[in-house]
């Protein structure tokens, strides 16, 4: 490179949720990082819902925290309504969620980034990538500055060739009042990358002072709030409620009458939208029999004058949006401040990345976030931190960090991406995790803090706390397993709880295992041993109840480990494997799975294909050895 305006170890393009984590990880590990973004005031901006977490997403946030990321601390600092979802269901499927002060969240993230000495935050548009010999060397901005970097992480979100739709109005841009990034996508295509289209949408915002709250049903936040970060002691911000109202016949009539004015129904948007997050027009069309849908009225911040009507994502024309809003109880007199819209954008089908999130085409170039076909802040941040860690590992000459499906939701997310291209924006669900019971949100620290500490990203103290928590739980379970329940007390107890009779000699742990029995019930069956603290009691109870299932899962994981980890050479010639189905050959060639385990999960690859692969792998390795 002839002239350069700066030299960095890692350059990150875009400072959204992926970009922030992608920049912080290598910076905290001591590398020089350039964070280039269109507008510094939009660092960590929430494009849509002012909330972090939710089922499965909350798991991701706590895993990011355990690894040493920022998202959990940010939401703990600016959260105004915390709620543990699914409280009435089992611990593995509970998920923390919190509404955020939208502006406060961005301001917090901007502060963290600006205070990180190893990050240079710059405003600007990345327009070109410098690639020589198949390896990334740096980037060039739209205004011509050149920066050299050993690794580049691309996290451009919904901005590549983005178009926003409201009724028949169509504007280029990745987010309201923000431009699209046109040139970078073009450059990626000339490098050989394929792009495809996806879409998503957001509801209109209404003025807080014009809502009649008396007509909505109040939902109080949890008291005390449960923090996301394992390091947060308490949540100090004043908490607010959230309100629920409903659509009705009138709302549905208005929408039905105007369906032909929706760009979705006129076929103007080609990209697929998320089925789990449909626009209101979609819901009314597809579930015509449902007379009403609920709407959550979420305040966008303590001092904010905006309300986010969760459930009303739409791209209908402005006048229709205004009309249907006012048909809803509580919103009769509301002022619509910002109309809702849909956005269609380019993403890179995820058969172009490896598990490290490095692209298969250009060494040192990583993709993370919405651009890989996912949706959601948490999914983006999870990829961001992984890309950041792996860019740093590349600088250090270390192997990439790959989390397995049995280790973390992050592992499930990445593995899903490298085995199937999302057909709709990909969101995490607990049902995507086959090892759901071992991936509880409250064990994220036990699972990942040691990984974070080994990297140098999470603190040793955090890892130690996690290890102590695990050790104490094991110790207590060992005690309960060795302690014989006093016969009479035990029978009295189980009779009262209708938990079946107890034989003499039964251990306390066996009684706790019964569904109707909670830890506090067995307190009288203990002897003088010191009582564990309440959080530990709960942990012990959960472990005991899940034990049989968890052991089965762990056995299965162990059994499959060898095949799971058998690696496939990067340049393995799938076309030489006779007998593969066309679909399997095509998919394997596109995805280039790194291991047999990954290969076996690729869509369209059957167990028979895997058998053949094993045969040819053997032969390939033999001939490689010979030559």
């Amino acid at each position: 490179m002839s002239r350069t305006d700066g030299k960095y170890d890692v350059a990150v393009i875009g400072a959204g949720h992926a970009g922030v984590e992608a920049a912080l990880a290598p910076a905290r590990l001591g590398f020089r990082v350039l964070l280039l973004t269109l507008d510094r005031l939009a660092v960590g901006r929430m494009s849509c819902n002012p909330a972090i977490g939710g089922l499965a997403k909350g798991h991701l946030v706590r895993e990011i925290d355990a690894l040493g990321g920022e998202m959990a601390r940010a939401i703990d600092a600016v959260g105004i309504h915390f709620k543990l979802l699914n409280r009435s269901r089992g611990p593995a499927v509970q998920g923390p969620r919190a509404q955020a002060d939208r502006d406060g969240y961005s301001a917090y993230m901007l502060g963290v980034v600006e205070n990180e000495p190893n990050i240079d935050l710059k405003d600007g548009e990345a327009a070109d990538l410098i690639v020589t010999g198949g390896e990334i060397r740096g980037l060039v901005t739209a205004t011509g500055e050149k920066y050299s970097a050993d690794s580049v992480i691309l996290t451009a979100g919904t901005f590549l060739s983005a178009v926003m739709f409201t009724g028949d109005r169509k504007v280029a841009g990745g987010r309201r009042n923000e431009p699209a990034a046109e040139r970078l996508g073009e450059r990626m295509r000339t490098l050989g990358f394929r792009t495809a289209r996806l879409k998503t949408g957001t509801p209109p915002r209404v003025r807080r002072s014009t809502v009649d709250w008396s007509r909505a049903w109040e939902q109080k936040p949890d008291r005390p709030p449960l923090p996301f970060s394992f390091g947060t002691e308490s949540i100090d911000r004043p908490q607010v409620s959230c309100w629920i109202t409903r659509t009705n016949d009138k709302t549905h009539d208005i929408i039905r009458r105007n369906l032909d004015r929706s760009p979705l129904f006129r076929g103007e948007i080609g990209g697929a939208g998320p089925r789990y997050c449909p626009s209101i027009e979609d819901k009314i069309h597809r579930f015509a029999h449902q007379p009403s849908h609920h709407v959550f009225l979420e305040i966008e911040g303590g001092d904010s004058d905006l309300v986010y009507p969760n459930g009303l994502s739409t791209s209908l024309p402005e006048d229709v949006q205004e009309e249907f809003l006012r048909s809803i109880p509580g919103l009769e007199e509301c002022e619509m401040v910002i109309p809702g819209y849909a956005v269609e954008y380019d993403f890179f089908p995820s058969d172009q990345i490896r598990r490290s999130l490095e692209t298969t085409l250009v060494e040192g170039l990583y993709l993370a976030g919405q651009m890989n076909g996912t949706s959601g802040y948490e999914e983006a941040a999870a990829q961001g931190i992984m890309a950041g860690i792996n860019a740093a590992n590349r600088c250090r000459g270390d192997r990439p960090l790959v989390l397995s499906r049995a280790e973390a939701y992050i592992g499930v997310l990445v593995d899903d991406l490298v085995t199937r291209v999302p057909r709709e924006p990909y969101r995490m669900f607990t049902s995507r995790a086959e090892h759901r019971l071992i991936l509880r949100h409250d064990t994220a620290d036990v699972r990942l803090a040691p990984v974070g500490a080994a990297l140098g990203l999470a603190s040793e103290a955090a890892a130690r706390r996690a290890a102590e928590k695990d050790r104490d739980a094991r110790r207590e379970i060992a005690y309960l397993s060795s302690r014989t329940a006093p016969f009479h007390e035990a029978n009295e107890l189980t009779e009262r709880l209708e938990a079946g009779p107890v034989r003499p000699g039964t251990k306390v742990v066996e009684i706790l295992r019964r569904p109707a029995v909670s830890y506090d019930d067995i307190l009288p069956l203990r002897d003088g041993e010191p009582l564990p603290a309440p959080p530990l009691r709960r942990e012990v109870e959960v472990r005991v109840k899940y034990a049989g299932y968890v052991e089965r899962q762990i056995r299965l994981v162990e059994k499959l480990k060898k095949m799971e980890n058998r690696s496939i050479p990067t340049h393995f010639a799938y076309e030489e494997v006779g007998g593969l189905s066309n679909e399997a050959e095509e998919k394997l060639t596109a995805f280039r799975p790194e291991t047999l385990g990954v290969a076996s999960r690729i869509e369209g690859v059957t167990p028979a294909d895997v058998s053949l692969l094993v045969v040819y792998l053997d032969r390939w390795e033999r001939t490689e050895e010979l030559s």
Partner: protein, 468 residues
Amino acid sequence: MSTILYREGDTVVAPATAPGVGALAVVRISGPDAISIADRIFSGATPSRAPLRTMHHGTILSVDGEPIDEVLLTVFRTPHSYTGEDSVEISCHGAPYLVRRIVDRVVAEGARLAGPGEFTRRAFRNGRIDLAQAEAVADVIQARSAGAARSALRQLHGGLSKRLQSMRHQLIDVLADVEADLDFAAEEEVPSYDREAVKATLGEVLTIIRDLIEKGERGRIVRDGVRVVIAGRPNAGKSTLFNALLEEDRAIVSEEPGTTRDVLEGEIELGGILFTLHDTAGEREEATGAIETEGIQRAKAKQKEADIVLRVADRSVALTGDEKRLARGEHDLPRHLLVFTKGDLPAGPDAAAFDDAPRASRPLTVCVPSGEGLDELRADLLRLAVGEKEAGAGKQGVAGDADVTSRRHLQALRTVERAVVSGAATVREGELLAEDLRAALNGLDEITGEGAREELLDEIFSRFCIGK
């Protein structure tokens, strides 16, 4: 998916002809130990000294030197064999249980059962067949592999496949309800699943599964026979009973505990069904020496493969806790039968406690010198193997077309059964119920070769309006 991983360097064995009722069958052994194993099991010639590709007439012997079958044996040396490795091919009579016994005998000598397509895979790896041939064979593997969904399904009989399919759909429906509840009910307007309906569905599925298992099991038993393993403490009278049931003096009997060291085999016929009896070393903690320890290991291994474990307890001495529990019927082990021996000696205090119990809850007592109880024992064995009704009906019919008879499929069905039973007991805990339903579906998928990863989300999204 799980069965595909092969180890290199093993010696493997499998029938090389399609299982069925052909007059002759071929068992193939391949790998470094193939020929030395042949030396140990074959009488007629010494295979390791036999010239290349010559055929020898002789007998395959059981562990205790009894003839299993008269066979023709051919030796191939690397690289001049189908697989390119040292190999032995044994042409034996086609009866499935003979083939199985020969294969078992080879396994007992240290070989491993070959996986599907493994001989071809070895052939290919050793350069014995070229790409074109490998492709042709690959097609066969593809068609045969249980995983290759549709083709595997087509192989199943229409009626059976329909039943499996309909169970699968029932389970997916339930799972979709449960998962929707877990993933969306907190945020969306998704109804909670109906516990009673779930219970009812699981009940229906269980009835079908149990019916399939029972019929399949009977079919398999008629075809392959029943493995009975005689187990118990030293000196309990196992070998004595073994000899009595065989009606010949096969095993050494002595008053010295720890007499039997290795596993002995013998066959009898009851109600038209073949029973293979295995006499094993007595189990005790304080085994004397390596040989006895090994014998006890083998005895335990045998019990794992048994269709019926016949546990023998000497009634004249004190019983162990395990024996007492078994005698009282307090166990959930399938197909365990406890008998008291030495009916002519006075009962010890533990056994005497059962004297007044009604026949149904009292272990059977046998006395070999007088022959007392032996007929009853035979009847009990038959009943355990084929069920009450069939035992009375005499000779068995062969398995019907719509039955699952492969050992692997039956195993999968048992997994399904366990999962469904466990699920029905945990309908209140959605996340555990989901776990059981998944295990049940995986079991069914092992038979039908399907997979349900995306299907489930599709099902949820099509049924419920999800999204705020």
